[in-house]
């Protein structure tokens, strides 16, 4: 574990890179002993600063949720990041990417909670009971690391490459869908370019929810009522540029349109 002084220094670097939109070397270059827990300590420090500036935490995002990515990174749990209210954009509108470095989009399923959820090992039914609705989401990622090169500790410190997100489409009750096989098609400028199903996330996105609640529990926290959770990319992450029209279509859940500014 790094000293608090090092955590503060890393938070300075990440905060500055995110605010000014420039790349940095992966954190472990300067701090080779950095752990994943250190990465989360950096997130805690970032959150403290962001809240002091009036920003509001409204939920979480899961990352590295595909088996292939976990094997690639040598982990067996997803990574988690924070969702801030001012990074949520409306569907059918323009998503600002000024200040982003190399933005990419992914299609995924969002859970919106109606009840608090906590505990070391909640079941899928517990998640469903506490869920208000699920709906389509587009996540806009932007790694601050040069050429998207990073390791897990670094990407956690960079808040899981979170940049912006869009919720939309048709809200559904999760009990009324087979969330293991929702087809998701991403289109850029009218061209379908990515094809996936929701089972790409740990076989079922509810698994990401269960792991998130367990992880929060280890930190003495719960998933509050009202929270939004992005459960992880089903599609690959596709690069976008200013002027692109993006459409994400979800089987039995409608679609999201957005334009990149």
């Amino acid at each position: 574990m790094l000293e608090q002084a090092a955590i503060t220094t890393i938070a300075d670097i990440v905060d500055e890179a995110q605010s000014n939109g420039h790349t940095i070397a992966k954190i472990t270059d300067a701090h080779p002993g950095m752990t994943i827990d250190d990465g989360y300590a950096v997130q805690d420090e970032l959150l403290r600063r962001w809240q002091a500036r009036g920003r509001e935490l409204i939920g979480y995002k899961a990352g590295l949720t595909s088996r292939a990515k976990m094997v690639q990174m040598g982990v067996d749990v997803p990574s988690f990041g924070m969702l801030m209210r001012d990074t949520c954009d409306a569907e059918g509108g323009v998503v600002p990417t000024t200040g982003l470095i190399h933005p990419r989009v992914e299609g995924e399923i969002a859970f919106v909670m109606k009840q608090e959820l906590s505990g070391p090992e909640v079941g899928a039914q517990d998640v469903y009971d506490a869920t208000d609705f699920v709906q389509p989401a587009i996540e806009i990622l932007d790694s601050r690391f040069e050429k998207f090169k990073f390791d897990l500790a670094s990407v956690v410190a960079d808040n899981g490459s979170s940049a912006r997100f869009v919720l939309g489409g048709r809200p559904r009750r999760p009990q009324e869908l087979d969330l293991s096989a929702i087809g998701i098609v991403l289109e850029i400028n009218g061209e379908p370019v990515a094809f996936a199903a929701s089972g790409a996330v740990l076989g079922h996105p509810v698994e990401a929810m269960r792991m998130l609640v367990s992880w929060l529990h280890t930190r003495g926290q719960s998933l509050p009522a009202g929270a939004v959770v992005l459960t992880g990319a089903a599609t690959e992450a596709l690069p976008i540029k200013t002027g692109d029209a993006i459409c994400a279509r979800f089987q039995d859940m409608g679609s999201i349109n957005m334009r990149v500014d």
Binding site: S66, S180, P192, A197, G203, R249
Partner: protein, 268 residues
């Protein structure tokens, strides 16, 4: 310029004999100067005729090369097709004898079963839906009689579109009850998700691929009849299979399908 009929027959025989012996042969394009896609379909007809002469019957068609990624990889801008025969069909949950295959790979697809004949040209996607009895989840186990899968379009067409065997899932769904373009597919190998995909990966929608096939067969004067099975194209990337593998898949809104391969896992 088309190649000689005697050469077409010789290559058809060569491919059939490779299939029957379970061996591979060098690709055709480097051996036959100027071989065209039309030549390749003639070779395919000869290869399939040998199987029919051995007692197999025609059960339907498969459509291949339906994704943009695969089309770019082998240098074409349209799908291809092959002939499904009775010896290729396995029931849901079956064990496939590995020794019947050479270098198999799996693709998860949507299968169509027709209730009316389709006679192109001029067939629209709506005509296909109206003529479809039901759709089903299915595995196509593709295989190549060409060394190391070193194929371009002429090679795979001549080799009956790399048909191996196929498995139709038991669940049957009316195409009026599912959004085929957005049907999500999850395929598992030995309990782990290996690929996912969706209907739009197949020519924008699997129904478009079937309409293409109806129109292509119509131009060629080939029949496309009620009762035929059509494997409409891979919903996601194909993946290799090994002895002892257990595969399962699900297509959202349609159903599931599973199959296993004989033999022991090498690392088990």
């Amino acid at each position: 310029m088309a190649i000689e009929q005697t050469l077409i027959e010789r290559l058809g025989d060569e491919l059939y004999e490779a299939f029957a012996a379970g061996v591979t042969i060098p690709n055709l394009r480097d051996r036959v100067e100027g071989i065209t896609i039309v030549d390749a379909y003639h070779i395919q007809a000869c290869m399939v005729q040998r199987r029919l002469a051995a007692g197999e019957t025609v059960l339907g068609k498969k459509i291949g090369v339906t994704s943009r990624a695969v089309q770019q990889a082998i240098g074409v801008f349209e799908p291809d097709f092959g002939i499904l025969t009775s010896a290729m069909a396995y029931p849901d949950g079956a064990e496939i004898p590995m020794e019947t295959l050479i270098q198999p790979k799996a693709e998860a697809e949507i299968g169509f079963v027709l209730k009316h004949d389709l006679k192109g040209p001029g067939i629209t996607p709506a005509d296909v839906l109206a003529a479809t009895d039901h759709v089903r989840a299915c595995f196509e186990i593709v295989d190549s009689r060409i060394d190391d899968w070193d194929i371009r379009i002429q090679d795979t067409v001549a080799d009956n579109a790399s048909c191996g065997v196929y498995v139709l899932g038991e669940d049957k769904v009316d195409p009026r009850d599912v959004d085929l373009a957005l049907a999500g597919m999850v395929a598992m190998r030995n309990g782990e998700v290996v690929v996912t995909g969706a209907g739009a990966a197949v020519q924008g929608s699997p129904v478009n691929a079937v309409a293409w096939l109806a129109n292509t067969l119509g131009r060629l004067g080939m029949p496309f009849l009620a009762g035929e099975v059509i494997l409409s194209g891979a919903l996601g990337p194909m993946f290799p299979v090994e002895p002892g593998d257990q595969l399962a898949m699900k297509v959202g809104g349609i159903g599931s399908c599973s199959v296993r391969f004989s033999g022991e896992k090498a690392d088990a």
